[in-house]
């Protein structure tokens, strides 16, 4: 027989009065749990990422990191098993603590923190997103506040809000808080030389590269953006015997001879901004699917979402560090110049330098973290794009998916092989930092 939420609270109040328990976990019948609260908010956030134009993949990864840390700290503040990330993440100071000997409702704390974080990190979403945020906040509050005594409700909401505010304050000076013109600079001097990036788009805004200073942002778990540096890409050459030419010819040939399955793979991992939850959102979607499918509790859910968000954000900072260090030309430009001026790539070439592949770096990092959390040979199905008409794909492991994400960029005609392979390497390095975080006491 299940105890009602009020019964649980009465029992907890009695326990507190006896000095037995400092907190209460309210999970009565018909109520919402903290892990459900997190998953509901993340489902909405995946939509907001897609529908907030400034949320290019790097910007999206930043939001996922702060949301993940917010969720984690909200859960950790009421857990004897979780250890705060304060002092482990760059610049994160100790968070507000729960008042000893008083009652809190975990779900209400988490929802209060998540509602504030979602509203803050998506303050620039459009009217439909704002409307959805309000509706979600109202619905989650209705579910999580039901039956709570007014003092517990007020205390829980205040604590969740305090955590959210602490994380937001921490985020403001990381270098990525203000993004103008959708991340495209108004001034930027392109580096001369055939080996360097030049615009590939006819969109006026994209004549300068996206977020050229993103690598200067404060990282989360890695020391800085250069922590996982990469070897040089193959030396630029138009000599048909050169490695560079061979890699370009591989892209050219792969696209020209693309199979139906390869085309599907290219589309599946395309993850275009404003038309998908972006590459980091794709990996968040995978994690949410696994967390829900296997009914993981709030602590595991928060741990996964925090580590994954952190490594995705670090991956984009590290990747952007390398991209603007090497500033390499895209396959489209080289192939038009050297091989075939009429060649077309299946995917739109992103408006920033080529090496390494961003999707590869962040997929490698995500796979390393998820394998750490769920296991090396963890099979799963990825239905991220089902609503867009792309059938789910099955993978034998997270690394299997990361490698497919990487090679999809070659099928799509937007990356050379070196950028993919070294990108995965870089992700593996970055992911290890997130895995080294201590989240359990």
């Amino acid at each position: 027989m299940k105890a009602s939420r009020r019964t649980i609270i009465r029992m907890a109040l009695a326990a507190v009065a006896l000095g037995v328990a400092p907190q209460v976990r309210a999970t009565g019948s018909g109520e919402i749990t903290s892990d459900e609260v997190m998953r509901h908010w993340y489902r909405l956030v995946l939509e907001l990422v897609r529908h907030t134009p400034t949320y290019s993949p790097p910007v999206a990864s930043r939001a996922f990191a702060y949301l993940g840390v917010t969720a984690f700290e909200a859960v950790a503040s009421g857990s004897n098993r979780l250890q705060s990330l304060a002092g482990q993440l760059n610049g994160l100071t100790p968070l507000p603590q729960r008042e000893a000997g008083t009652l809190y409702d975990d779900a209400r704390v988490v929802d209060s923190a998540m509602a504030f974080a979602a509203k803050s990190f998506f303050s620039n979403t459009g009217p439909t997103g704002q409307r959805a945020l309000k509706a979600m906040a109202a619905r989650m509050r209705e579910k999580s506040a039901s039956g709570l005594p007014s003092d517990v409700l007020a205390r829980s909401e205040a604590h969740g809000l305090a955590i959210g505010q602490h994380i937001l304050a921490w985020s403001l000076d990381d270098g990525g808080a203000v993004v103008e013109n959708m991340g495209f600079p108004l001034e930027y001097t392109l580096t001369e030389g055939p080996e360097h990036w030049v615009p590939t788009s006819l969109v006026a805004q994209q004549q300068l590269p996206l977020l050229p200073n993103w690598a200067r942002n404060r990282t989360f778990a890695t020391p800085d953006g250069a922590a996982c540096g990469l070897p040089n890409p193959p030396a630029y050459s138009e000599d048909m015997a050169s490695d560079f030419y061979r890699e370009a010819l591989e892209v050219y040939t792969a696209v020209n001879d693309i199979t139906a399955d390869q085309r599907i793979i290219a589309r599946f991992w395309s993850d275009d901004p404003m038309l998908s939850p972006t590459p980091p959102g794709h990996w968040i979607s995978i994690a949410l699917h696994v967390l829900a499918r296997d009914k993981h509790d709030a602590e595991k859910t928060a741990d996964v979402l925090a580590r994954l968000g952190i490594t995705l954000a670090d991956a984009f900072i590290g990747c952007w560090d390398a991209k603007f260090k090497f500033d390499l030309v895209r396959p489209l430009t080289y192939i038009h110049r050297v091989i075939d001026p009429k060649w077309e790539a299946p995917l739109n070439t992103p408006p920033f330098p080529e090496y390494p592949s961003g999707h590869s770096t962040q997929s490698g990092a995500a796979a390393v973290v998820l394998a750490h959390m769920f296991g090396e040979n963890f099979a799963f199905e990825d239905a991220t794009h089902a609503a867009d008409g792309l059938p789910p794909r099955s993978f034998a492991s997270f690394w299997d998916a990361a490698e497919e994400a990487g090679i999809s960029r070659l099928y799509g005609g937007i990356h050379f092989r070196s950028a993919i392979e070294r990108g995965l390497d870089q992700g593996r390095c970055i992911g290890a930092y997130a895995n080294a975080l201590k989240t359990r006491r």
Binding site: P53, A135, A204, Q205
Partner: protein, 536 residues
């Protein structure tokens, strides 16, 4: 003192294959507009919250019979307002608000169309809720005709319309675009509701059949029946808002008489394009007989031109984006100091300086305080130069309003040969500008007439020949952003005094070329010589 010409930027050599009509090295005359909002007698606001963040299209049409365009301005959540045009030829703009029967709330847009071919314009009102067809009674009075004409108004959030008369039909076919499911509060994305195709019930019935669903539907904000390949049968071009669809893209539909509508596929050459589609303008910019299409969006706008024009005259629907090359990306405010990108809505090609080269107007305005996009977002007026490139003159011409624009219409409101401007603004009063340009070329305007059906000859092409170049205008009803126009079709003539003119009627019949003197209005009635028309 304002410069009369906007400089050397346009004094460059002609593009290969494009022949300017003005003297090759003459700069385009700078248009001048005077805002007359305060004195014109118009005080209409497009009001409302979330469900009115799109729409705001106005209709211009002559319901009084005096040749001057009257107007219906949508009010969003409050009733629309009808304005009778009481301007004098060449004078300031003046309108009188009157009760017409069109004062209906929840309007997002309006299109004028003589549905029953009685020679009196009717209107189709797009709404949040039931759409309504309004039968013109004459004297600018209208009555609801949904029941009489079998028009199913539905209960959608309608945001786009296109109309045509299919071959052999005596009743129009109307496509209506519907937006998201407005009742879905938390997850409206991916809930695009069905677009509808209202076709004639039959040759004897003179009413609409039950509408067909155009599946898949992807939340359009503009639709246009257009004969893109000059096959003689218009197709339905739909510009969709990627904000709300999932798995969607821009669309082109085969709509052939007696056949179910069928979408163009990649195998037929249709290329996947996904934008925040908000408005369509079309014009044959390069004088090759095929229209170019300007598509408004956010942070970027597209100008599409056929990639191939095969000798067999059967092009595939593949388009190259030439917006960047032609200077019409209009992606960021050009004044005001904001660095965030622009949001574009209604768009229209018209020759505002009568130099024989159409220019481009774009209504701009933030969706609703979206900080990622410019809040002060001036309208664009891009004037075409002899080289086919466009240059921004919105500020110097006087139309760079920072109000939050939506719908618009460029029409000669005072019948002086110069195209004037009306813009509907969200939360603010609509604005009117009189074209007061003094250094312009000559002009010529036409009203088409045929019997017994499709009296305004929707689907016809007007051709105006000057020297080796033929200017062409397809007569359409649709496109823009949620609003359309019926009335005079305007051409600038540059310094030409007389132009050769003919009409290719909707059934493909080619009228005779006639030599007509500029600076005149003509009624081109099928089978009869052109007749000069003189305003009061």
């Amino acid at each position: 003192m304002q410069a009369r010409y906007f400089g050397l930027a346009l004094m460059v050599a002609c593009l290969a294959g494009a022949t300017p009509l003005g003297a090759a090295n003459m700069p385009a005359p700078l248009p001048i507009f005077h805002e007359e909002t305060a004195t014109a007698g118009v005080g209409s606001v497009y009001a409302g919250d979330w469900q009115y963040m799109v729409g705001g299209g106005l209709a211009t049409f002559d319901c009084s019979g005096d040749g001057y365009p009257d107007m219906l301005l949508p009010g969003g959540e409050v009733p629309a307002k009808f304005y009778r045009n009481i301007s004098k030829q060449g004078g300031d703009l003046h309108f009188a608000e009157e009760q017409s029967g069109l004062e209906i709330d929840k309007l997002t847009g309006a299109y004028p169309l003589d549905i029953d071919s009685d020679g009196i314009v009717d209107l189709v009102l797009l709404r949040v809720g039931e759409n309504v067809v309004m039968r013109g009674l004459g004297g600018c009075r209208f009555e609801r005709a949904n029941e009489t004409w079998g028009f199913w108004g539905g209960d959608g959030w309608s945001t786009a319309l296109a109309a045509t008369f299919e071959r052999g039909a005596d009743w129009p076919t109307i496509a209506i675009g519907n937006y998201v499911n407005r009742y879905e509060e938390m997850y409206p994305w991916g809930t695009c509701t069905d677009n509808r195709l209202h076709r004639p019930a039959g040759t004897e019935e003179r009413r609409f059949a039950a509408p067909l669903s155009l599946k898949p539907s992807f939340c359009p904000l503009s639709m246009l029946f257009t004969d893109w390949n000059r096959s003689g049968t218009p197709s339905l071009r739909i510009s969709n808002d990627r904000e709300y669809y999932k798995g969607g893209q821009e669309q082109l539909w085969h709509v052939e008489a007696g056949q179910p509508p069928r979408i163009y596929t990649a195998d037929e050459g249709w290329k996947n394009l996904r934008i925040w589609g908000m408005g369509i303008a079309s014009y044959d910019l390069d004088f090759d007989g095929y229209p170019e299409y300007f598509l408004t969006s956010m942070a970027d706008n597209k100008l599409q031109s056929l990639t191939e024009r095969p000798a067999d005259g059967k092009p595939k629907p593949g388009y190259a984006d030439i917006a960047f090359a032609r200077g019409v990306t209009a992606h960021r405010p050009y004044i005001g100091g904001e660095v965030q990108p622009s949001t574009a809505w209604h768009t229209q090609f018209e020759d505002v300086n009568n130099d024989g080269l159409v220019d481009l107007f774009i209504a701009k305005g933030n969706v609703a305080e979206m900080p990622d996009f410019a809040l002060k977002d001036p309208n664009n007026l891009l004037v075409q130069g002899p080289d086919g490139k466009f240059a921004e003159v919105g500020d110097t011409a006087g139309v760079a309003s920072m109000a939050t624009a939506r719908g618009a219409a460029l029409a000669d409101l005072n019948l002086d040969g110069l195209v004037d401007l009306v813009v509907v603004n969200r939360w603010q009063t609509a604005q009117l500008w009189r074209n007061a340009s003094t250094t312009t070329g000559r002009w010529i305007q036409f009203a088409l007439a045929q019997k017994p059906v499709n009296r305004a000859a929707i689907g016809a092409w007007i051709e105006v020949r000057r020297g080796e170049t033929v200017m062409r205008r397809e007569i359409t009803l649709g496109g823009g952003h949620a609003g359309g126009q019926a009335g005079w079709h305007h051409f600038g003539l540059g310094d030409t005094t007389t132009a050769d003119v003919r009409v290719i009627w909707p059934d493909g019949t080619e009228g005779d070329w006639e030599s007509l003197e500029g600076n005149n209005f003509y009624v081109l009635e099928r089978g009869t010589p052109a007749k000069i028309w003189t305003p009061r």
